[in-house]
Amino acid sequence: MSYRIPGRGRVDHADPVRFTFDGKSLKGLRGDTLASALLANGIHLVGRSFKYHRPRGIVTAGSDDPNALVETSRDSGRFEPNTRATVQELRSGLAAESQNRFPTLEYDVGEVNNLLAPLFSAGFYYKTFMWPRNFWDKVYEPVIRRAAGLGRAPTEVDPDHYASRYAHVDVLVAGAGPAGIAAALAAARSGASVMLVDENSEIGGSLLSEPGVEIGGTPAWDWLADAAAELEALGVQVLPRTIAMGYYHQNMVGLCQRVTDHLDTVPANAPRERMWRVRAARVVLAQGAQEKPLVFDGNDRPGVMLAGAAQTFLNRFGVRVCDRGVVVTSHDSAYHAAFDLADAGAVIAAIVDTRSEIRDDLRSEARARGIEVLASHTVTGTKGRLRIKSVRVNPVASGRVLSPRTLFCDALLMSGGWTPALHLFSHTKGGLAWDAEAQTFLPDRKTENCEIAGAGRGLWGIGAALADGAKAGAEAAGALGREATTPEFDVTTDRAGTGRAHEELPTDRNPSRVRAFVDFQNDVTAKDIRLAVREGMRSIEHVKRYTTTGMATDQGKLSNINGLMIAADALGKTPPEVGLTTFRPPYTPTTFGAFAGYHRGAHFEVTRKTPIDPWAEAHGAVFEPVAQWRRARYFPQGEEDMDAAVERECRATRASVGIFDASTLGKIEVTGPDAVEFMNRVYTNPWTKLAPGKLRYGVLLGDDGYVRDDGVIGRISEHQFHVTTTTGGAARVLNTMEDYLQTEWPDLDVWLTSTTEQWAVVALNGPNARKVLEPLVEGLDISNAAFPMMSVADCTVAGLPARLFRLSFTGELGYEINVPARHGLALWEALMTAGAPHGITPYGTESMHLLRAEKGFIIVGQDTDGTVSPQDAGLGWALGSKKADFIGMRGLQRPDLVAKGRKQLVGLLTEDGAVKLEEGAQITAERDAPLPRAMIGHVTSSYRSPALGRSIAMALVKDGHDRMGEIVYIPMENEVIAARIASANFYDPDGGRAKA
């Protein structure tokens, strides 16, 4: 049967929408939420609770509902758990499934937990499951894990994408109820740029549930339409379906906007959600208040609902949630829900009020509708398995609970009063103050430029909200130096009210049998909270963590104040003495994908590519990520694996000529009158005597004395150095240089310029390198005599302006040709053509690593690790010992750096040259010993050397420089490998080939 009232609400009665719930096909209307559509079909039961698997129904009409969480799906990949039925707008074909039940929602075997509930008191799991010792993670935990959780995690990759956007506004208004709308109007009328956001599908907030109110003589919904039109005319950016989820430093607010979940079909290319980071000069928080449940035995039965929610379902969605309702309340607001439902044809069996004093007008309005009002009453129980059937109520006199009577009903509408929504304010670490009269926390000390308006600061009623919002909006605009007037609103038929807060309601029943729920989803009862206090949990944080109250998906929106009242009562303290747990972002659970935004897949992080990268890709290179770069690792031919390709590349380079893309090398231009002095202070080496046109290998330390970076540095002219750094270290080195230059030595006249991306660099290595290069060079004699090893000069190569380095990182005759980046590819291709007669062979980083290892050249970060001094690395020769200072010089003198027993870089040759060591393998002095073994070092680099026809390795070994020729051992999982310590300069030790 339908509970829809024809013509009523803001839904489109002419536009039916089909959907399914647990496989059953149902009909709702355009404008429904899934919850209102289910209720229109008479369905309250929507899920099972977390712990006891108790049947649960829809409790609220908003994003704070603890029970109405369902799995929803649209098509392949668009499946998600824990969708709030109260938020999800109905769309055609929406498929919803209830969660945490087996086999069906009506008959769930998990309900056995409910019978065992006395065993599952607060924190029970801390007290058992400890024996036998190995059973926790093998037996108990898997069982508990399967029982816990709500919906199922998605198993497919999400086909949707997510967007993100920045915005800057004068005034951001969070919440578009009457207070928020008034604030936005007031601020926008002053000319301020305003953004107004609301989590609902349309603006209006409480006005949507209060159509009877008149504002300035206009019915609420007409006024709302006018206001929306004016907001648009004023250029206010209105974002419905948008949750202000977090309030960050200096008025940055994170918003999450739902873009497609409400649409019947997903438009191509539309993001599912959009994350906004809004920087606002002023923020107005107008997020209203949340209704609290009352805490009594059986308050969790399907059909027990917040009174305000029933009012919203009726007025906004045209759904009468019951035929025969009972209202239980401690606040005036529930009377209006009762009256509206009665006027809509429901029977209201009684209004049960916990208070003794009831306003005369409410009494007389109830009387006029034939509704019995039971003042000074309590609720002591409910009945009905899958839906409430009756409620047990008792009068209370002088603190005594008298005899009960039973009221039959199909819904129980409750209101325990309202809690200001102060979550975002709390994100700012703003202070809260307890208002003893209103029995609630209100905003107090502010830390950000924000105003709080309306119900958020305890004001009740449409008129008060409008007035307060207008004032906040005008103040926000005024604070920005704008002339703002505060609009006034004349509100009639306003239904403001007051109420009181409670701990659990008094009862006449055996307390051990009473189950009055505080946190519905997590199944926390008032008894659990009192038990926690009895067990010594005296801080509200302890109570929360011990019982899990407030830790469900509503993050305590419904339960926090009730839990606090009960804990305070149990502790004999006032609520402010006990305090509130911290509200943490986000305001409502927010999609991971929305945070990730565009940073997915290839866009997760930028990929830097060299100008020669397209050639490498076209020629089948296998790439590796190095810092943010992708570099060609090797160039396989045919079916070659890496080892085969690398061996071929290395042999070809040593036999004839190899070509390598070295563009990722960091490059810094150091210029100025004091450039040489600066270099002297930054690098360990002496630079004064390096002549222009010459190169030198430079070592950079930290001030702690450890090696940070290295590279070949050219003196281009008296006052100009071309510095190269490691690929990963470029930005770090420049930052270090800038730091010392700007803050330690501001007197030095030096400029630093990053030129990493200005130069493309091609390395040419091999005995035929000169033969390939020479015909292409103009303006420079590159004969060995005229341009010897470690020279640099500007010239033209292949018609391109070039800076030519002669150096060798391979042990062969080598050049590095720098050309402006835009010419990099042209240079590469010219060299490939020129080298073709010599069988020029492109090689990647893997061969580069191998070739340098054959020469014992280090790679900072591989052969050093941040704890290695230059002496350890065998680079003591690079220290300018006559210099007064350089970065790290003092650090090198610290006791541990000059002590014996440091790990030093050496070569390592396995006794059996066919055996290659594993990089990272540990080295011991003895062949065999029991665990734990004393380790004297580790293998830093290891290769099969084509040139030597055997394996080679480099290693950091304790006192390694004094152990030349000694045998050490590398214990592997199934064998022990013996190796001899040797010089790491394995190939052409005299260096004649490079100088040829």
Partner: protein
């Protein structure tokens, strides 16, 4: 102390839960103690427990400015592992791991130590070299750690993305099977209950404002919000707030405090059997017994005590999580929080004596303190009781910053804890 057991649960179920008593009393400070421990986190409470149990020193107070377990003990992502590179670290964390394995029984409090395995992902060649160095060093130190291929890693954690075309492909992983997670609050509560049962006073809501020294320079006691408490020995175990407290005793420490953020998703049915850490992209994830995905992030760049943290870091962390586990994009963040971690220059702890006689310090755990809890507590108690370091914490001195003998796990491996 009521002994916890299934039997006790049944008995109380039948008698209206009347048999449960306070797990620790709400103690008021006495005038004098043999030992005052500043900071009632897992480390401080644990040290009190071991002082009482193993050293017979029961005239002990643990003084806490807020509520016990409310600092980093209750704010971390509960990862427990011991596969550290250096001998010193491996011994310390493996000692902790040994204690974790029997902690529930030791404390008669289920701390839910779950040996579900911790998988550390290698995303580039450098990671591979570094992790293999760890695996080899761990093996020779008797610490469990195994190298897995990408395919083996996916077998272990089926929701892992091992697409080799990913921006940061998984090139392999180091797996410590014995590692896992525990229920963080229970650790603090279990130690508190055990210590209280042995006579230790746990004094909450009692901020220590200064450490006092006598004329000889020796520690004399602590000034607190509730007055002066005399003490023969004082041990400071106050994580991010250690600097401020130690400053008052004239002991400066090489510490900086940074904000660290973590978050959980809404609870879902089991979808992830283990812990996965990716240091290259700074993202860590496991699934709690309740079903929430527990996700750790990196630290913000600036020092802070605000326990707040910025949005960009969370965006980066979740982008990384969605890269490594592409099926979780439609999951939702339920709650995000911040902690304050104290970081030393070498990212290893300082645990031992200080230049002030009778004053001991345990700090600088950075993001790795939770996993060390029982081990750190155990050797801190030893150090305080005997006025000399246990061999395990002997290398973790303050002097190493002068000599340069650092224990620099991060420099050695570019690995966050």
């Amino acid at each position: 102390m009521t002994r916890f057991s299934a039997f006790a649960l049944v008995k109380n179920a039948l008698t209206g839960q009347k048999g449960w008593e306070a797990q620790w009393p709400d103690s008021q400070p006495k005038q004098e103690y043999d030992v005052v421990i500043v900071g009632a986190g897992g480390h401080g409470l644990g040290a009190a427990y071991y002082l009482a149990k193993e050293h017979g020193i029961t005239n002990v107070a643990v003084v806490e400015k807020g509520w016990l377990g409310g600092g980093n003990t209750g704010r971390n992502t509960t990862i427990i592992r011991s596969n550290y590179l250096y001998d010193e670290s491996a011994r310390l964390y493996d000692h902790a791991l040994d204690l974790w394995e029997g902690l529930s029984q030791e404390l008669n409090y289920n701390v839910m130590f779950s040996r579900r395995g911790v998988l550390m992902l290698a995303h580039n060649v450098h990671d591979v070299q570094s992790f293999q160095r760890h695996v080899h060093a761990n093996r020779l130190n008797g610490v469990d750690n195994k190298w897995l291929t990408p395919w083996e890693a996916k077998q272990f954690c089926p929701i892992l993305n091992i697409d080799q075309d990913a921006r940061y492909p998984v090139l392999g992983a180091a797996l410590q099977r014995r590692a896992g997670t525990a229920r963080h609050d229970a650790v603090a509560w279990g130690y508190a209950r055990g210590a209280a049962a042995r006579g230790v006073d746990i004094i909450q809501n009692c901020p220590v404002t200064a450490i006092r020294r006598d004329a000889s320079g020796r520690v004399a006691g602590v000034e607190t919000g509730r007055g002066f408490i005399r003490a023969k020995k004082v041990a400071v175990s106050a994580a991010g707030h250690t600097s401020v407290v130690m400053d008052s005793a004239g002991v400066r420490l090489p510490l900086e405090s940074f904000p660290l953020q973590a978050l959980v998703s809404e609870p879902v049915k089991p979808c992830m059997p283990c812990v996965v850490m990716s240091n290259a992209v700074h993202a860590y994830m496991s699934q709690s017994d309740k079903g929430e995905l527990v996700i750790g992030s990196g630290t913000d760049q600036y020092t802070s005590y605000s326990q707040r943290g910025g949005l960009p870091l969370i965006e980066h962390t979740l982008a990384a999580i969605c890269e490594i586990f592409p099926t979780v994009t439609r999951m939702r963040m339920l709650r995000k929080w911040g902690g304050t971690v104290d970081v030393t220059p070498d990212r290893s702890a300082i645990l031992g004596k200080t230049p002030v006689p009778g004053l001991y310090v345990n700090c600088g755990w950075g993001t790795g303190g939770f996993k060390a809890t029982p081990g750190a507590a155990h050797v801190l108690a030893w150090t305080v009781a005997k006025d000399e370091p246990h061999p395990i914490n002997a290398p973790f001195t303050l002097e190493r910053f002068t000599s340069g003998r650092l224990i620099d796990e991060a420099a050695a491996a570019a690995v966050a804890h």
